[in-house]
Amino acid sequence: MNVANHVISARGLRKTYRNKPALDNTSFNVEAGRIIGLIGPNGAGKTTALKAILGLIPFEGDLKVLGMDPRKQRDELMNEVCFIADVAVLPRWIKVKEAIDFVDGIHPRFDRAKCERFIANTKLSPNLRVREMSKGMIVQLHLALVMAIDAKLLVLDEPTLGLDILYRKQFYQRLLEDYFDEQKTIIVTTHQVEEIENILTDVMFIRDGKIVLTATMDEVAERYTEVLASTDTLEAARALHPIDERTLPFGKNVLLFDGVPRPQLAAFGETRNPGLADLFVAIMKGTYA
């Protein structure tokens, strides 16, 4: 528990919107050099948590981001932190060259050459305005700007919303190849869990403003096991209290276990690591009920 190693350390965060808690005594830590997926159903408090980290909203509780309080030291913090709050936020009037000039002019950690290299790989031209671009091109510009900033923490809130699958894949691919290193930390929220689970190092599930699961992907693989049970082993497997069960065609059942040793489960059928989406559904069961 060395606080200095934590990029983010949150204790007892509270934030209420119209009597509905968006953050309810939320506590968590984020270490450097990780890619964390913050995953939760609509209205669970994901965006509120990110806004609190970025110092965009007032809240109660104790929060340190890179050792700073985002409420009081936001101006300093923004030298080290960058965020993409969905792709549609670039101003429609700005030209590619103006956007580059501006970020270069005000961000001490912006690497202009790097940004121009990223732009050169796209169809963006210096005089093109955002209002003339497709959504995919806007995200290419935004990503080129942000990836050229040597920030310690990058926050992505639904960064690929509304993009087609080619751009979505390209987005995460480039983040991994051209941006991420052990000095940097990325927090990302998305509904498209399947697309990011292979790049995440850590996962956090949030529900009703509370963190219900926080684990590294390795821990997730170790703790949760899916068993493909056939009809004759099904009853015996159920006795071990699976946290979720779903039926596949041809009479097979998939049972999801939490904390049951894998050799023990192997007796009931084929075992495998659960997908993040299935795990999410199992843990969030009853959220909308």
Binding site: L54, L56, I57, P58, L66, G67, M68, R74, D75, M78, N79, E80, C82, F83, I84, A85, D86, A88, V89, L90, P91, R92, W93, I94, K95, E98, D101, F102, V103, G105, I106, H107, P108, R109, F110, D111, H142, V146, D150, K152, Q183
Partner: protein, 338 residues
Amino acid sequence: MNAVTHSARTHTEHKTNTFKWLLKREYWENRGGFVWAPLITGAIVCFLTAVLTVIGVVRFKSSGAANDLQFNGSLAEHARQIGGIGDTALMAGIILTTLVLAFVVFFYALGSLYDDRRDRSVLFWKSLPASDLQMVLSKATWALVLAPIFSVVAGVLIGIVLWLIIGTAAAAAGMPNASAIFTHANPLSVVGNMLTAIPVYLLWAMPAVGWLMLCSAWARSKPFLWAVLLPLLASVMVSMAGILPGININYGAIWYTLVYRGLFSVVPGSWAPASTAFDQNIQRAENANIQGPADLMNLMNVSNLDVLGSADLWIGAAIGVAFIGAAIYLRRWRELAD
């Protein structure tokens, strides 16, 4: 500060000039209002003036009236009055662009802290290391300093064009001693006086610009309605309360404070009634014996600086500063608009 030294070692950093780039940013976004609006208006007015003077000169010549142009009297006095035509043309150009300025500043201030919350681009600006203080001040600087300077420069250009058109037309029509329009004008006095209007505008328009920016930072929707209706309805309600017996209210002062100072102070020159020399200027106008354009010019080209002695201006400026301070606070914490 340990974090900073540590980061300086592991990252390459370069120098930044945030405020300069914030000002450029405003220019990129609003050059249509700041630059093109006065220039296009001026071009249209110059064109219309040119067409009208050509028509006028042609009709004047064909009527044969030119032959009747006679002149008896002091040649020096005549030249002085004719020179006033040049000054009037110059001033007309500047007045034109300052009227455009009133509209530009009003709508610029009203949208300055609202539009980017509505189209969500505020989230992009806030993802960069520019403080809300700097962001709001860069916008106030445009509304109160840079846009007025642009306006006066554009006004002088347009005024010179009008001056040339009218001078040429006068000469073409055969006006005696028409060259006096150029030789006996006092352009430096006119332009100099207009330059003094720039710092006066900064102080005088502060409460109105501050109020508009405050509404812009605060409103979740329809900042125009909030900004205009609030002072208007407040004044109407106070006026209605006055119908009740036993209540004595100085309606004039309420309307003046809320509506005139709160909204109409974006109009350059609207400080004239507040000037300590206002009564004197009116008196002078009433007693004036106007013989020609130069005399008229004398009355119009009154000093802007007299108003600096009024408490009205300074109290307004202080309230304006408070409004802008509140706008900075709201900019920090207000979330997106609808």
